[in-house]
């Protein structure tokens, strides 16, 4: 059994993951070093990568802040009734089961230029849909459960006793959080951050719908790859994809590392 299953497992990984990865890595060099350099130094590529970077930063900051706070409220908050908590808890997962395209569509439907809210914001000169804020919103929507789902179990596992001990020793909420709670959930949060970065880096469907994919304006790295492929410009697509792959693999390594650290405590 063993003699059959191990090679079979290797085969699955080889066919499904390793060979495609290698193919991307080599495909980018098809037109030589110059081709690759050209592919990633095109103005639209530079802009798209910048855009992606900006989205990653903004989304990761917001999602971390709100994700951690919501987790604390959902696990510790006595001011929320248990029924309400259960309801909120099940809503958290919804973005997992919503197609990113639909996620994007939702934002267009609510905040698009033809809606009341959208028109209002546009009149005060704040464009949401087909602009940066909309893209951030769409990415926030799809990444929302990642942080909460990482932090909540950790909070549940560490229990309340250490926090109570801190309060009997004279520490108030804020001190307790930074001195006691934070060091215990830190690795869970870092893991959540890595997942959020990976997801916001790679988000495609939702951003495509919300951004309108306008070159040099609202185009991100992934939507640029899509456009390049649609234009049969596979080598250029490959160049940008290679950068994304490099980031993803790096993130995967951080993911493994933080998973191990998370398990230590």
């Amino acid at each position: 059994m063993r003699k059959l299953l191990i090679p079979l497992t290797y085969l699955v990984f080889l066919v499904l993951l390793i060979v495609p990865l290698i193919k991307i890595a080599f495909g980018a060099w098809e037109d030589g070093v110059d081709g690759l350099i050209h592919a990633i130094t095109r103005p639209e590529a530079v802009h798209a990568l910048m855009m992606t970077g900006l989205i990653v930063i903004v989304v990761t900051l917001l999602n971390t802040l709100f994700g951690v706070m919501l987790s604390i409220y959902l696990v510790r908050g006595t001011w929320l009734g248990s029924r309400l908590k259960q309801l909120l808890n099940s809503i958290v997962d919804l973005p997992f089961s919503v197609s990113p395209v639909i996620g994007g569509l939702m934002i267009v439907l609510i905040l698009g230029p033809s809606t009341t809210i959208g028109a209002f914001f546009e009149s005060i000169g704040f464009k949401i849909v087909y602009a940066f804020p909309g893209m951030v919103l769409a990415t926030l929507f799809v990444t929302f459960p990642l942080m909460v789902r990482e932090v909540m179990p950790v909070l549940q596992e560490i229990g309340t006793q250490q926090e109570e001990a801190a309060s009997t020793l004279g520490a108030y909420g804020w001190t307790t959080f930074w001195k006691v709670t934070w060091p215990l959930i830190r690795w869970g949060v870092i893991y959540g951050v890595v997942l959020t970065i990976a997801r916001s880096l790679g988000e495609f469907g939702a951003v495509l719908v919300v951004s309108g994919n306008v070159m040099n304006k609202t185009q991100t790295a992934t939507t640029l790859v899509y456009q390049d492929v649609e234009n049969f410009n596979v080598v250029s697509a490959n160049g940008v994809a290679l950068i994304l792959v490099a980031f993803s693999v790096a993130l995967l390594l951080v993911m493994e590392w933080s998973k191990k650290r998370k398990g230590v405590h």
């Binding site: 250490q162 109570e164 001990a165 004279g170």
Partner: protein, 354 residues
């Protein structure tokens, strides 16, 4: 610290966890809250600490109402059941935590921590993390951490529950000595009667959210005021037909009265060993169990199985042996009342025989 609690009540949803609890505790006393699990002991402790707020009732420290005072300002030390040590801090940092919150100087903190480390016998372990310590050591750290900010009241929730039986004994007397030396008012929760009897100055028996009895261990043992206390403290056998036993015929004056008989109320032996034969019953040995330092004997008397102990020095009995049993006294109870009844024949044998 002088503590006064009046009319304390606490509900968890539908569950009435603490019912009308009132008591006072004198300064410097060591009190044990004893009772079965889920009886509300820990809830009372947590309300004293301010970790739980009562639905009704007052808690007074030194005559001052502290109900609305958050735990941070009550000046109490709390030792949790699983110690709740800060896992990411060393022993030193754990003990120093409360002092740092008080913004004491580095020098002061250092002195106080080292003093406590010395006191709790943790010297050399200051830089270890909790997971590198044994259960007993962790307990000492938790204790030192709670004492560091010099609280006026120390609360301990099942302080020995998570420790091996062997070390538990040692820690108990250690804790007792230490609390005596520090001179701090302390309350601890336990479900282990030996622990409560051995450590506490005074015991409060708590069951189903009520205080059943409060008093010194000896008082509670000698004069249980409710059937629950009588059956919870010490060992005992229940006898349904107590009025059929010689010397206790008067029990039939009260309807539906049962009795609890403790092992030490019972003497067994051959007939010639008892001066007053009329006070004794016939019995038959059912089982004997070797208990290390003595025999535990199950003896059948008029359809009841009574338990008693017998010295190893005495003649060895065997199951099936016929034997004579003297019941010195019994704890009688019915639905309304409970009292202790001595063996009538034993007290006043003379008139009948002459």
């Amino acid at each position: 610290m002088h503590i006064e609690v009046t009319g304390l009540n606490k509900h968890f949803g539908q569950f009435h966890a603490v019912k009308d609890v009132s008591f006072t505790i004198e300064k410097g006393h060591l009190i044990g809250l004893l009772g079965p699990s889920g009886g509300g002991k820990t809830s009372i402790l947590r309300m004293l600490a301010g970790l739980e707020s009562p639905d009704a009732g007052d808690i007074l420290f030194h005559g001052r109402r502290v109900n609305d005072l958050p735990p941070q300002e009550r000046g109490i030390g709390f030792v949790f059941q699983n110690y709740a040590l800060f896992k990411h801090m060393t022993v030193y940092d754990n003990i120093a935590f409360g002092l740092k919150i008080k913004k004491q100087s580095k020098e002061q903190i250092r002195n106080r921590v080292m003093e406590l480390v010395e006191l709790t016998g943790l010297k050399g372990f200051e830089q270890r993390y909790p997971h590198q310590l044994s259960g007993g050591q962790r307990q000492r750290v938790a204790f030192a951490r709670a004492l560091a900010p010099e609280p006026q009241l120390l609360l301990l929730d099942e302080p020995f529950a998570a420790i091996d039986a062997k070390i538990r004994q040692e820690l108990r007397s250690w804790l007792r000595d230490l609390i005596e030396r520090v001179g701090i008012t302390s309350i601890f929760v336990t479900h282990d009667q030996d622990e409560a009897i051995e450590v506490a100055d005074e015991i409060m028996i708590i069951s189903q959210g009520r205080v059943e009895q409060k008093g010194t261990p000896w008082d509670i043992y000698k004069q249980p005021q409710t059937p629950f206390v009588a059956s919870f403290i010490g060992e005992s056998s229940i006898v349904e037909n107590i009025h059929e036993l010689r010397g206790f015929e008067n029990a039939s004056d009260w309807l539906n009265t049962k009795a609890l008989i403790r092992p030490e109320y019972i003497e067994i032996g051959q007939l010639y060993e008892f001066p007053i034969a009329s006070a004794t019953e016939k019995g038959r040995i059912k089982h004997i169990h070797f208990r290390g330092s003595e025999w535990m004997v199950e003896v059948e008397v008029r359809g009841n199985t009574l338990i008693t102990y017998r010295s190893l020095e005495k003649e060895v009995l065997h199951p099936g042996d016929d034997i004579v049993v003297l019941v010195h006294r019994a704890y009688l109870f019915n639905d309304h009342d409970s009292w202790i009844m001595e063996n009538r024949m034993k007290e006043d044998p003379m008139p009948i025989h002459i």
